[in-house]
């Protein structure tokens, strides 16, 4: 497969680009909800429009009413989300949760997927148990209780947790904290008794929660996949989420870079456009090169993941690490090259910097994924 979009993918890219630039723009969405201190951090109307556009069901199979497309297509939408800093539950619901639920029972798929596809419902995932992403270790416990389970523990960095109708929780049903086996994924409804959440506004004005599970009672049919055998589903979900986050990071990089390059062509100092200075030209050109390389790594990882290739896991980590360091470079250069105005809230470049920080942290930062590349490569 060639490493660029085919005709159908290009059409999707066109409509996602137009939709996100118009409906998902920084002014209409991010600033709008931020300035109202919205407890969700995103607009439900926009999420329904995502449904009307068909974006919500990209990763849902056709049998389940979705479009049955792949990670390349989800990434097309995510890149535009990143470029416009569009706040939405797309990554958590349509990528992470959809991938996990797609591997669940008929009952679970029937219960949750229609609401996802219509944009009525929002899902969250609860994986991290500390300030850093470390899904190799799961402490949250689910003990057998009658026909179901009792969930106890705590999760952090649950994005959209407070707005979600259901959250997917990775818990331990057997073994010790660092075991690969003994993990089970659960679909926990919002109103489950014993579930409490502290919502916290993050630097990018999204909202995440610390979720507490205090004897949360779950039916047996809340299990996604196999009891004790949830690691595979968790990994599938994480791979899709990571490559998706990487695609969004490429969008953040490109959006921030374009803004900066435009500014270099307008701003005059010392009687010249600052874009005439070679020192800045070289930094801009280096940034361009980095963004192109990150973009290539991401599409390669998406294609390998869609083809279920053995090397997909390695390339997903390459993509997440590379996209993270690149978007970090892009926003730092962006603010610096904008000078004083880059420090103002009025100007958008700083919003890119905030989003980059949150997105890079989500599902493992560049260090985490670089470490994985070393391990997966055998050293």
């Amino acid at each position: 497969m060639a490493l660029f979009y085919d005709d159908d993918q290009s059409m999707l890219a066109d409509s996602a680009t137009q939709f996100m630039a118009e409906e998902g723009s920084i002014k209409k969405q991010l600033r709008h909800w931020r300035d109202r201190d919205c407890p969700d951090g995103f607009g439900h109307d926009l999420w329904k429009q995502f449904g009307e556009m068909g974006f919500t069901g990209i990763l849902v199979s056709e049998e389940d009413g979705g479009l049955g497309m792949g990670n390349v297509e989800a990434g097309i939408v995510l890149e535009q989300i990143g470029r416009n800093l569009t706040p939405s539950p797309f990554l958590t619901s349509s990528v992470l949760a959809a991938t996990a639920i797609g591997k669940g029972s008929n009952d679970l798929r029937g219960r949750y997927l229609p609401g996802l596809i219509s944009g009525e419902h929002v899902f969250a995932v609860a994986i991290d148990e500390g300030a850093k992403h470390r899904p190799e270790r799961i402490k949250t416990k689910a003990e057998k209780s009658g026909n179901g389970f009792k969930l106890n523990g705590q999760k952090d960095f649950v994005i959209h947790g407070a707005s979600a109708d259901m959250m997917i929780v990775a818990a331990r049903t057997s073994g010790s904290d660092d075991d690969d086996d003994g993990i089970t994924l659960f679909a926990v409804p919002k109103d489950a008794s014993g579930l409490s959440q502290d919502a916290v506004r993050l630097v990018d004005s999204s909202v995440a929660t610390h979720a507490k599970f205090d004897n949360v009672e779950l039916d047996g049919d809340a299990v996604i996949g196999e009891v004790d055998g949830g690691r595979d589903v968790l990994n599938a979900m994480l791979h899709a989420g990571r490559v998706g986050a990487a695609a969004e990071s490429v969008g953040v990089s490109a959006g921030s870079m374009d803004m900066t390059v435009d500014y270099l062509k307008q701003r005059k100092q010392f009687g010249k456009l600052i874009g005439e200075f070679q020192a800045l030209q070289h930094r801009a050109a280096h940034l361009y090169s980095d963004v192109e390389i990150a973009r290539a790594a991401v599409i390669k990882a998406q294609q390998l993941l869609d083809a279920e290739a053995e090397s997909a896991e390695l390339m997903v980590s390459v993509a997440k690490a590379k996209a993270g360091t690149t978007s970090n470079l892009s926003v730092r250069e962006g603010v610096q090259m904008h000078g004083g105005i880059g420090m103002t809230d009025e100007y958008d470049i700083g919003l890119y910097m905030k989003r980059d920080r949150a997105l890079s942290e989500f599902l493992g930062d560049a260090n985490y994924h670089t470490e994985r590349v070393a391990q997966l490569s055998g050293y």
Binding site: Q281, E292, V318
Partner: protein
């Protein structure tokens, strides 16, 4: 079975029958590379038979038309051949500036007679070419060149000096930029071809920090060049040169070869037995960059074949690829420790690690410096203002 599947099967069978096991080993040093030319000698029977089989089949230049010595393969077929050759680790049958640089320029700018004559010679490895671009005062600012060809009616008389002419002392012919109109900077250069045995041509190797001398100074002292030995139009050689530089940058960027971009962490561990934690972290960061760049190379080739992509993209590839390769060799030196410092020991094959490391420092200078590549990206892709 699709046509392409069938082609793959035929290619496999052909390679099995024609590529000797010895030619499936990685290239160890310069002696393993066959450059062709009048004075060429094969290192082994296997090298000879592999070259001859490829030349007969058109596989020294598979994508060139058959009438010019190629195999006339289309894009997908070329990719299949490349994949199948890399699957068995087959060595390139012929290395040649004729194939990489002059050939593409002739295909675009040459007359039919030139194509038939020169391209077939290149494909058959008969003539070894070198490139005369840079001059002592004209490196990155190539267009400032001074070598002058004076019009003498039926021939030019060329005087001047070139520098960094790779393997000029072993080449048979040179393709060369010569100023033919002093009044016109860009439109006063002619792209000439001539025999290195012409009277008045002399070469002198330049010893480099690596202890090798692949480059030469080349002197032209009243060299007579017949008036029909030019490519493109007289005084419009800059067009040819620019086109050719694009190809050269692609080649130096290593977009098509695995060895500049492959992951090294695991290889270094095998080699040294253990890695200290700081080095391991550096290697892992490098591997992320290298694997990402590898994807970029693949994307770039796919886009080029499909006619997509920006024409200045090779400049970006050249910049990123050569900087990466330099970093790779820095890490290899660090991983090798004191052993990689040995300049003449048997174990290091006569100082291969350090000589290789020093050689890479030229990557971001030759074929246009990294700074020039960034200038091009800034101006032609990002459209930033200024001269």
């Amino acid at each position: 079975m699709s046509d392409l599947d069938q082609f793959r099967q035929e290619t496999r069978d052909w390679l099995e029958a024609n590529c000797p096991p010895e030619m499936r080993q990685p290239v160890r040093d310069e002696g393993d590379v066959y450059w062709g030319g009048r004075r060429a000698k094969f290192k082994s029977d296997a090298q000879k038979s592999w070259f001859e089989a490829c030349a007969a089949k058109g596989y020294t230049v598979p994508a060139w038309p058959k009438e010019y010595g190629g195999a006339g393969l289309d894009g997908p077929q070329s990719k299949v051949l490349r994949q199948e050759m890399s699957r068995i680790g087959a060595r390139p049958p012929l290395s040649s500036f004729g194939i990489w640089m002059l050939g593409p320029a002739l295909l675009k700018f040459g007359t039919e007679e030139q194509k038939i004559h020169y391209l077939n010679e290149i494909a058959q490895g008969k003539i070894r070419w070198c490139q005369g671009y840079s001059e002592p005062g004209s490196g990155s600012d190539l267009v400032s060149m001074q070598t002058f060809g004076e019009d003498k009616g039926d021939h030019w008389v060329v005087n001047g000096q070139k520098i960094w002419t790779s393997y000029a002392d072993e080449a048979d012919w040179i393709f060369c930029l010569v100023r033919t109109d002093k009044a016109n900077k860009y439109q006063g250069i002619t792209f000439m071809l001539f025999d290195m045995e012409s009277k008045g041509v002399s070469t002198k190797p330049i010893l480099l920090i690596s202890g090798n001398s692949p480059f030469c100074e080349t002197f032209f002292d009243d060299v007579e060049v017949p008036k029909d030995q030019f490519v493109g139009e007289v005084n419009r050689g800059w067009d040819v040169a620019k086109y050719l530089l694009g190809h050269e940058r692609e080649m130096i960027s290593g977009a098509d070869s695995g060895d500049r971009t492959s992951a090294i962490g695991a290889a270094m561990l095998r080699h040294t037995g253990e890695l200290d934690t700081m080095l391991r972290a550096d290697l892992a960061k490098f591997d992320v960059e290298a694997l990402a760049y590898g994807a970029m190379g693949e994307k770039f080739l796919d886009e080029m074949k499909a006619g997509k992509g920006h024409p200045a993209q090779p400049n970006m590839m050249k910049y990123a690829g050569t900087e990466l390769n330099k970093r790779r060799h820095e890490l290899m030196m660090a991983a090798g420790g004191s052993r990689s410092l040995e300049w003449d020991s048997e174990e290091t094959g006569g100082g291969k690690p350090s000589r290789g490391w020093l050689r890479t420092k030229a990557n971001s200078i030759e074929g246009g410096t990294s700074e020039v590549m960034l200038n091009v990206v800034a101006k032609r892709i990002l459209d930033l203002p200024g001269a």
